[in-house]
């Protein structure tokens, strides 16, 4: 993207003043170098979002923004229902409530080194991953309804983890307002055997080493120290979320003219929040959020079992669980007015600052943990939400590295076996059922996650707390 198309307001803040049918400005938070590497599609998409009815303040792109569906991946936009605001299936994405959760282990790197191979194999055996994988649970209709309404709370009720886990999950593990009846039979059928599965593509499970602490006070409050081992899980609502996204996208495309909505791009398909279709999508989307939270909770339980089989003394409390493909109803200050807004985050992480009432008491003073996924060869990061971020981006930050190269290009450039061998030489064990999948996810196919995190920190969206480096990586 050409920098000359943007107006620089701060070192990592760039504006596009409204033009044409834009109702609000577009704002990109990134360094000049990251913006130069961004696809022009990000410019097109972030300005298209600014044209949607009822948008408030601005259409935002996070430092990891890249070409998405309607919204850029790394896009944030809030809508006011009272002003004809919309809800967009593309603005949430196909993998509804995809997210990251991180667990403590109480272990250090030197304690797992001697059992690393066994640990990798135990996790690979225990956690279903990849195309066609199924979980041990098969849900009947009644169980499906309960899961879609109850989320992680439902899973805990079945013995997958403990109640203390729920305090460390957004929405306390269960988003209210889910309407399972708005979820099609096809979506439910697609999910029936997929509970507790990781998926494929960029989803992963990693054992990570806390390599560096940037903010000792916040790190201590989060319970992490240099040298610690943590577990991070990246996955979402599996087949159910994909099916809901697919079905509502086509319904919203067809219905847009009846609502008088002119779509600059069909992927921006949306419906007024207060319309029957908008409400139906909200009910179904929230059910998918609960599905994702339940899925990560079940995987957490499997991780605990696998690690206990190898290291019985390990304790694995939950640090936090974030979702980065959502639309949530939140209160935000707009000028001097408190407003209830429908905040879309597509490939963007909620990053609430200190004092926010949605945070559990144990984290409220410090701010929300913001979990940023990296690649299997580089690093992931833990950040913390800030007061400033609440004003800059409705309390949102980046979600990962973001691809710099298509899967197509990656397949031409790398072989899966070479990547696995190379990472092993650098101390990272990779377990995957697909060598091709590993090649598509080559670390070199992603942007520099450190540059993304630095930009988020310097822009004020969130504060960098710790750098995590992979030790074991399971790919779907």
């Amino acid at each position: 993207m050409e920098l000359s198309r943007l107006q620089q307001k701060a070192e990592n803040q760039w504006h596009i003043a409204p033009y044409g049918k834009m109702r609000v400005p577009a704002i990109i938070y990134a360094s000049a170098a990251l913006i130069r590497d961004m696809d022009d599609k990000v410019y097109e998409q972030v300005t298209n979002v600014a044209k949607l009815p009822g948008i408030v303040k601005a259409s935002y792109a996070m430092p990891d923004a890249h070409w998405g569906y309607g919204f850029p991946i790394g896009g944030v936009a809030a809508f006011d229902a009272a002003k004809g605001g919309v809800i967009s299936a593309g603005g949430v994405g196909f993998d509804i409530s995809c997210g990251v959760r991180t667990l403590h282990t109480g272990l250090t790197l030197d304690q797992i080194e001697p059992v690393k191979e066994r640990l990798a194999d135990a996790l690979f055996t225990k956690i279903p991953a990849g195309f066609g994988s199924t979980g041990k649970l098969s849900l009947n209709e009644k169980e499906m309804q309960a899961m879609l309404t109850g989320g992680a709370k439902w899973a805990v009720g079945l013995g997958y983890g403990g109640r203390e886990d729920l305090q460390r999950v957004e929405e306390d593990g269960c988003i209210p307002g889910a309407v399972p009846d708005e979820v099609s039979e096809r979506a439910k059928k697609r999910q029936r055997d997929e509970m507790g599965t990781l998926g494929s593509g960029n989803h992963y499970l990693e054992i990570q080493h806390v390599r560096r602490i940037f903010d000792a006070t916040i790190a201590a409050a989060f319970g992490i120290s240099q040298g610690d081992i943590v577990v991070s899980i990246h996955c979402g609502s599996r087949g159910l979320g994909h099916q809901i996204g697919t079905e509502f996208l086509t319904r919203m495309v067809a219905a847009a003219p009846t609502y008088g909505i002119e779509l600059p791009d069909r992927e921006l398909a949306c419906a007024p929040i207060d319309s029957a279709l908008g409400q139906a999508y909200l009910g179904a989307m929230r059910a998918a959020v609960n599905c994702a939270l339940a899925n990560r909770q079940i995987i957490t339980h499997l991780v605990r079992q696998a690690i206990h089989d190898v290291i019985p003394r390990a304790e694995l409390p939950l640090l936090y669980d974030v979702s980065h493909n959502t639309c949530k109803v939140e209160e935000h200050m707009v000028g001097d007015r408190k407003m209830e807004l429908f905040v879309h985050r597509k490939g963007a992480t909620r990053a609430f600052g200190p004092g926010h009432p949605a945070l559990p008491e144990s984290l409220r003073e410090i701010g929300q943990p913001v979990l940023i996924g990296g690649t299997m060869g580089t690093a992931s990061y833990i950040l913390a939400g800030t007061h400033e971020g609440m004003k800059l981006s409705f309390g949102s930050a980046c979600h990962g590295a973001g691809r710099s190269m298509s899967r197509h290009q990656a397949l031409r450039q790398w072989r899966g076996r070479e990547i696995i061998d190379d990472l092993a030489r650098h101390g990272v064990l990779v377990r995957s059922r697909s060598l091709r999948g590993v090649a598509e996810e080559a670390p070199g196919a992603y942007k520099d996650v450190s540059a993304v995190v630095d930009a988020a920190d310097q822009a004020g969206l969130a504060r960098t707390v710790a750098r995590l480096e992979p030790v074991i990586c399971l790919k779907g």
Binding site: Y69, F94, F131, R190, G239, T246, T250, A254, R436
Partner: protein
């Protein structure tokens, strides 16, 4: 001269599928083969089991999205891969047949799970050469 074929084309995070054929139906069949090839080499898939699909949409482009989403649904719920397709299009309705087999990880290097067909880079058109082209990006 129309060379019936399928291709992949790049997208930032995902993959594009493109089918080319002498007719719209043939282009849809080829796009479906390209979809299989996102997961595994279609030549490694046996055409043993027949699955029938039906769909409809207000225009050709959304019909392609419905067709590919129908296949993704069958792949996901039956845990199958498909090697051969036959499509008949009558106005806004499509009747399709897909032949394939249950996935066998010892023979299929299943790279990704397709999540859904999207409206991005979505085109169904007849080119000047007379060939039909049907394409879109698949979220994986």
């Amino acid at each position: 001269m129309c060379d019936t074929s399928w291709q992949h084309f790049p997208h930032g995070a995902d993959m594009g599928v493109r089918g080319i054929g002498k007719s719209k139906a043939a282009a849809f069949e080829q796009a479906a083969l390209a979809l299989t090839a996102l997961v595994s080499d279609p030549r490694s898939v046996r055409a043993d089991i027949l699955v029938k699909l039906e769909c409809q949409a207000p225009d050709d482009e959304l019909l392609l999205v419905e067709w590919l989403n129908g296949i993704i649904y069958e792949m996901a719920t039956r845990k199958m891969l498909f090697a051969r397709f036959a499509v008949a299009i009558d106005g806004n309705r499509l009747n399709g047949m897909a032949w394939g087999e249950t996935i066998d990880l010892s023979r299929h290097d299943a790279a990704v799970e397709p999540k859904g067909a999207t409206c991005t880079s979505l085109e169904v058109c007849q080119e000047e050469s007379g060939c039909w082209r049907a394409q879109c990006i698949i979220d994986v």
